[in-house]
């Protein structure tokens, strides 16, 4: 796993309300929060974390940094991420929601050029239970184990984690790629990371209606993922509606490779079923399906 308790982490926007919540939560969990950045607050400290006006002032004191967690106002997030990338940080986790999509397009191009891993925006970030917290996942809902949990939700991720924990199924990681329109990393990227992660035995993918990332994930799992996967989709009862009207229909029909109905719960559930991935009807079914897969897996290993 690329995230370990020795990873050195900074929090950008640490003096914003979100940062004030997030940074101490991370530190209490044992994450090495070596500095906070908030322009205009240089020289102050937050719960023992030194605050700097700029990242480049902190670097000579704290050495190289592994990850940046961004809690700035949304219109300042692109700049904060570029500042982190310019300073050599290659893991950038965007917690703040509402970052304009074209800022994300700009940032994603930059991240691709510099091989930077982006998570978020509008994401609680990453938790590796018992190891490190990079974001605002409620630590007490998680417990170490072998289920890799990927989603694009916030609180629904916590709900599923808590469901697993209560069922005695610990997690190797909890990560949300983020709920905004354009996000920095995709399900396939994370599926690949977890497929290669030694601690992960089963992957739980929590999806939602809208977009085609679940369809793409189903396709990718079928092609490239060896570990067993359980899926769950929220929004089956949501009313159907037009997205972008007339033009939206034209555009979706051209760009999406997954059929005209893409984005609906049916489209997503069917995509998983076609890929022979079990789909939980409700959160409480997730542990049941995970246990079945672990059993099958164990039998296969034994046999």
């Amino acid at each position: 796993m690329i995230f370990t308790p020795t990873s050195k982490v900074i929090v950008q926007g640490i003096m914003e309300p979100l940062g004030v919540t997030c940074a101490p939560l991370m530190k209490e969990y044992g994450t090495q929060v070596v500095a906070g950045i908030s322009p205009g607050f240089g020289g102050q400290t937050l719960k023992g974390i030194p605050v700097f006006d700029m990242l480049e002032q902190a670097l000579p004191l704290i050495g190289s940094v592994d990850a940046a967690v961004i809690c700035t106002p949304p219109y300042a997030a692109l700049d904060a991420a570029l500042e982190a990338i310019a300073a050599g940080i290659r893991q950038v986790i965007l917690i703040s929601q509402g970052i304009p999509p074209l800022d994300m397009v700009h940032l994603i191009r930059k991240a691709e050029a510099t091989e930077t891993l982006l998570v978020g925006p509008n994401s609680p970030g990453i938790i590796v239970p018992g190891q490190i917290l990079l974001g605002i996942h409620p630590p007490n809902l998680y417990t170490p184990g072998s289920v890799g949990l990927i989603s694009r939700s916030g609180t629904l991720t916590y709900e599923v984690a808590w469901t697993l924990t209560q069922a005695g199924l610990g997690q190797s990681i909890g990560v949300s790629v983020g709920g905004d329109m354009i996000v920095g990393s995709s399900f396939p990227q994370w599926l690949q990371i977890l497929d290669e992660d030694d601690r992960t035995e089963v992957i739980v993918l929590v999806g939602e209606i809208g977009g085609d990332s679940e369809e793409a994930a189903a396709h990718y799992i079928e092609e490239a993922i060896d570990k067993p996967v359980v899926a769950y989709i929220a929004g089956r009862s949501a009313p159907r509606g037009r997205r972008m009207g007339h033009a939206g229909a034209i555009i979706d029909s051209q760009i999406a490779d997954f059929g005209p109905d893409v984005g609906s719960a049916d489209s997503k559930v069917n995509a998983f079923k076609r890929a022979k991935i079990p789909v939980a009807d409700r959160p409480s079914e997730i542990p049941t399906l995970v246990n079945e897969l672990i059993k099958t897996s164990a039998q296969r290993s034994a046999g």
């Binding site: 914003e16 999509p101 074209l102 409620p138 929004g235 949501a238 009207g245």
Partner: protein
């Protein structure tokens, strides 16, 4: 945020995209002061598509025709939407109609340029001929020329049409658009091009940095799916907008986070319940998110949901990392106190006592996950709110309340 055609064309004009001389018509008599020469076209300004097929676009040869046409259009709903404004526009002689668009594609995570040789009202034909170019790297005009060649344009049209796409892209980038569409782009017999209809959607998250666009405030019809699916970030203290689902539903749903709201609603439906409305009081990823704000939003949210007198039961499902269950319980208690005071004051005002039934508080079923749950239970123990640990049990309980109790008459 969608713009109306005339607003989109104003942006086109500023960017140097050719548009016809036109005039905004707020009421039929405005046509008496028309500065355009006849014949003209009158177009219903609505957010819905398909106005052309149902009579929302009419030609007029003189003022008498025009006033009559305007009256007809003002009274013609387009998919349920009445126009507040019409656009009067000069007529244009076209030889060919093209479709052009720049849109943000969420799965490719890049803007795409779209073009079809078959523009106009026949959407099916446009789609069949549609070509696209992904703007994978920073835009440069050659991306637009690439679209021209894919579309099959030749000669001088390559340059004149790609110049339009270039300007559309600049508009898209400068104004944080989700979509800019020209359909059709008219090509005259002499090869001149003209944007005959346009559609612009501004990204809601970016709207605050474009005050001039935000001021256009079109008040587009609310779309319940929109609220869930676009996950529109509300500012931390923005007013609560409850989405109505079923007019005969009796359960209100209040959660934090869009995914959790959808999952909870799914469970209610799977258990045979019928949601009346729902409210997402916001996830924890807003940069100005503070514990006290969630409590405040919960209180206001409950008030808003309870406005719908159809709602007999409110299912509250909150999973929080940053706010303790105790604080949430406090907010619920405050709401209940406030509600009972309101009921009392209304009953006092009206001695017949009838209103007390109408203004009766809905039953609250509360399910909380987070820290200090025991304290929360303690707080709620003296109220009518029922607090249940397990989500599915809470859902069944909420549904069974609607079945037990008769609807008030």
């Amino acid at each position: 945020m969608d713009l109306l055609e005339y607003q989109a064309k104003e942006l086109f004009r500023e960017m140097g995209i050719p548009v016809l001389p036109s005039q905004r018509i707020d009421r039929p008599r405005d046509l008496k002061g028309l500065e355009l020469p006849y014949p003209i076209v009158l177009k219903s300004q609505v957010y819905m598509g398909g106005r052309g097929r149902v009579g929302g676009v009419r030609f007029a040869e003189n003022t008498i025709d025009a006033v009559a046409a305007a009256q007809t259009i003002f009274n013609l709903p387009i998919m349920g939407e009445y126009p507040k404004v019409l656009l009067a526009e000069a007529k244009y002689d076209v030889q060919q109609e093209l479709y052009l668009a720049v849109a943000l594609n969420r799965s490719i995570r890049r803007p795409v340029l779209l073009g079809s040789l078959k523009g106009g009202i026949d959407v099916r034909a446009a789609i069949d001929e549609m070509k696209y170019v992904v703007v994978d790297q920073e835009f440069s005009p050659f991306f637009a020329r690439r679209l021209m060649l894919k579309m099959g344009l030749q000669g001088a049209l390559i340059n004149s049409v790609s110049a339009i796409v270039e300007k559309m892209y600049r508009l898209f980038l400068d104004n944080d658009l989700d979509l800019v569409e020209i359909n059709p782009l008219g090509v005259s017999p002499t090869g001149e091009v003209m944007a005959l209809d346009g559609k612009v959607t501004v990204n809601d998250d970016a709207l605050a940095r474009h005050p001039a666009l935000a001021a256009l405030n079109p008040k587009a019809p609310a779309d319940p799916l929109h609220a869930l699916d676009k996950l529109t970030p509300q500012t931390a203290r923005s007013p609560e907008v409850v989405s109505t689902l079923n007019s005969d539903g009796q359960i209100g749903i209040l959660c934090n986070g869009a995914g959790l709201t959808m999952a909870t609603m799914d469970l209610v439906c799977q258990s045979g319940g019928k949601p009346a409305n729902f409210l997402d009081i916001g996830s924890e990823t807003h940069y100005s998110c503070m514990p006290d704000i969630l409590g405040e939003r919960l209180e206001n949210g409950l008030e808003a949901i309870a406005q719908n007198k159809q709602v007999r039961v409110v299912l509250i499902n909150l999973v929080s990392g940053t706010v303790s269950c105790e604080q949430i319980a406090d907010a619920i208690v405050r709401f209940l106190q406030h509600q009972s005071r309101k009921v009392r004051s209304i009953s006092e005002a009206r001695e017949d006592g009838l209103v007390s039934r109408v203004a009766r508080n809905p039953q609250l079923v509360v399910r909380l996950v987070g820290s200090h749950l025991a304290e929360a239970k303690e707080r709620l123990s003296t109220t009518q709110a029922l607090i249940i640990d397990d989500l599915e049990i809470a859902v069944s309980q909420a549904v069974s309340f609607t079945k037990q109790t008769k609807k008030p008459t």
